[in-house]
Symmetry: C2
Subunit: 379 residues, 2 copies
């Protein structure tokens, strides 16, 4: 199989776009990535999106968005895997180039939620759970995270130690031009915010925002940022069916496969992006990636290991909490950020000597997870 | 890139399943295909589905359906491309094996509509058109097909000549165990049925039905049925933006690319499945595949060329009209049927000496189209 590299990245600021359409957001990020890649012709477009069927009443989305690039005749595909859509779409796009079927692929994640009624968004988030066994009970995504959060508190860490995940993400977002909330947040402020679902405070949850992020993939020329490993794995959808509700098997399994493909161990990783849509999810992401032992994720967050100059910097542009979480776009934001780090283009966020970066993106309560490993090659 | 073959097929009857869930339908077809393939382990599942977000309130569908196979840890991806979802998902699944990333892939299409209110289904069908420019006008999918149908009537053929497409599909469905409507239908009956959208009669439209179809793909061992060519292409979504509304550029372009990859001409094709969700679409599918010249598709249908013993048999198990059209599953039904023909397992529907078969599956009014070419090899 051919090796694949990232030739271009395109990001727009995550925010509330009241005056722009989903096509607009898609086109801006996509054209930025195409320009950055300095390529002539694309042959395929992957669109990752979670909720357009519910929020824009739109199916056949890849065709409709691809049309906004003004190039009829392109191949187009839409991937939906709940909030893992971005990482899964990237995995598919890598295969398109690796197989030799495509020579230049655009993969763009896009989501538009701010002009949708909040209860529709909340319903949409719960639609990643099984409608016949879980979602119909009326439980929200936050409600499920709250159960996990409480169990982790009972076994391993204090509320403040878990909450520190959000504080660190905000610290990293300061100065980030594409972040929705590029400001510091104190642990006191977070712990004083209202309960969203006890014991999760509002300021421990990622917010509602619109965004689009794009990457261009081409065959590798042994220079730049290569895809070293890529994997997707699934688990039982309901946490009630799992042997250990705190063991996120889909994360571990995808990480193991992606690391094997890349020929790396967790200790080789220079930096990582984890899915901190809730503080507890960020902690479990760190543990699932093998960066900390079970029950020790909070230690890593609290002792400075995740800082920009720490052992393994995590969420260096703010993560889902502070950069923002436009669902189907999030996985592509993560990968674009890792690519910028490995290209040495991360500006004030730059992690010195970054060589291997990982992005972890999951849907449901880790019922599906993608882990993608990028590596800087050549000089 | 590795060559890919079809190792197993699984079909269930298209009908109204009032007592079964979408998981049930998915699992039955998938397990049939896995059994038929006689393989031990799968490593990836592709799910093609159009409307579950609307009709089952379900996102993250690939994870939830894959769970019903009882094997957590599989990789899973859902593809949505309107009613082209099946053919596009197959195209992706081929890449997974061709790239070397996967050694055994299940691709299952599934759709469940009969327990949904008809206006929701009608709305869902229109959601393949652009919400900002077309769907918001209230036009239905049948309404758009009616405009094309009338233009074709004005230029090339009589209403009866076009209607014959449906008569032929019904003729081919007789005796087909997985067909929803396995009975003959006279041209008189079709022409006497109510107008759905003038000039399209009700009996010229495919119906509402539930179904699931599955294929298992593995690397080729130069025996059996190989994927010779596969392509997906897009066009302007709105027919108003196209130079010639009767030129289905996405069909032509995908056919050209797939034939080139397979090293064939249209005249080499032994049989084809075309998307006759409306009679006019079946005719334009035949022309788009290059099996007849522009304006001469109806001649081919009326002179017997499409019959089982004709020049190029079309829709040999009844097509969308008579086998049934469970949207996201339809493209996989088509490919499974072509595979059965090339394997010599088509029973009473067998086309003698079939060597090369083509399936054409489109979404919207051919705003996206997949063309897949299968070939019998070895002996």
């Amino acid at each position: 199989m051919r090796k694949v590299k990232i030739a271009g990245t395109g990001l727009i600021k995550v925010k509330e776009y009241w005056d722009r359409s989903i096509q607009d957001l898609f086109a801006e990020a996509s054209l930025k990535a195409i320009k950055d890649a300095s390529i002539g012709d694309l042959d395929k477009v992957y669109v990752s999106n979670m909720g357009a069927a519910l929020m824009q009443d739109q199916l056949n989305l890849a065709t409709i968005l691809t049309e906004s690039l003004g190039k009829p005749g392109l191949s187009a595909t839409r991937i939906e895997a709940g909030s893992a859509s971005g990482g899964v779409a990237f995995h598919e796009a890598v295969q398109a180039v690796a197989s030799g079927y495509s020579d230049a692929v655009l993969v763009t994640g896009v989501e538009k939620m701010s002009d949708i009624l909040p209860d529709v968004v909340t319903t949409g988030l719960a639609m990643a759970e099984d409608q016949e066994y879980t979602a119909y009970t009326g439980v929200t995504k936050t409600g499920i995270a709250a159960m996990i959060h409480r169990l982790y508190m009972d076994l391993y860490a204090s509320p403040k130690e878990i909450c520190m995940m959000a504080v660190k993400s905000h610290e990293h977002a300061v100065g980030c031009k594409h972040a929705q909330y590029p400001f510091k947040m104190s642990i006191e402020r977070a712990m004083a915010s209202p309960m969203e679902a006890d014991p999760i405070h509002m300021m421990e949850c990622s917010g509602i925002g619109d965004g689009a992020a794009a990457l261009v993939l081409v065959p590798s020329d042994d220079e730049g940022v290569e895809v070293a490993g890529t994997a997707v794995s699934t688990d039982y959808t309901s946490i009630a069916q799992r042997t250990d509700p705190l063991e996120m098997r889909a994360i571990k399994d995808a990480a193991e496969k992606a690391y094997k493909m890349a020929g790396i161990k967790a200790s080789d990783i220079s930096l990582a992006e984890v899915q901190d849509d809730y503080t507890i999810n960020g902690i479990l992401g760190i543990e699932g990636l093998g960066l900390a032992k079970t029950g020790e994720g909070t230690k890593m967050v609290n002792n400075g290991d995740v800082d920009k100059d720490g052992k393994t910097p995590i969420n260096t542009f703010g993560g889902l909490k502070a950069r923002g979480n436009p669902l189907g776009a999030t996985g592509i934001y993560q990968l674009a950020e890792v690519a910028l780090q490995l290209q040495g283009k991360a500006g004030d966020h730059q992690v010195e000597g970054a060589k291997i970066g990982v992005a972890q993106n999951m849907g449901g309560m880790a019922s599906i997870c993608s882990v993608n490993v990028l590596r800087r090659v050549g000089e």
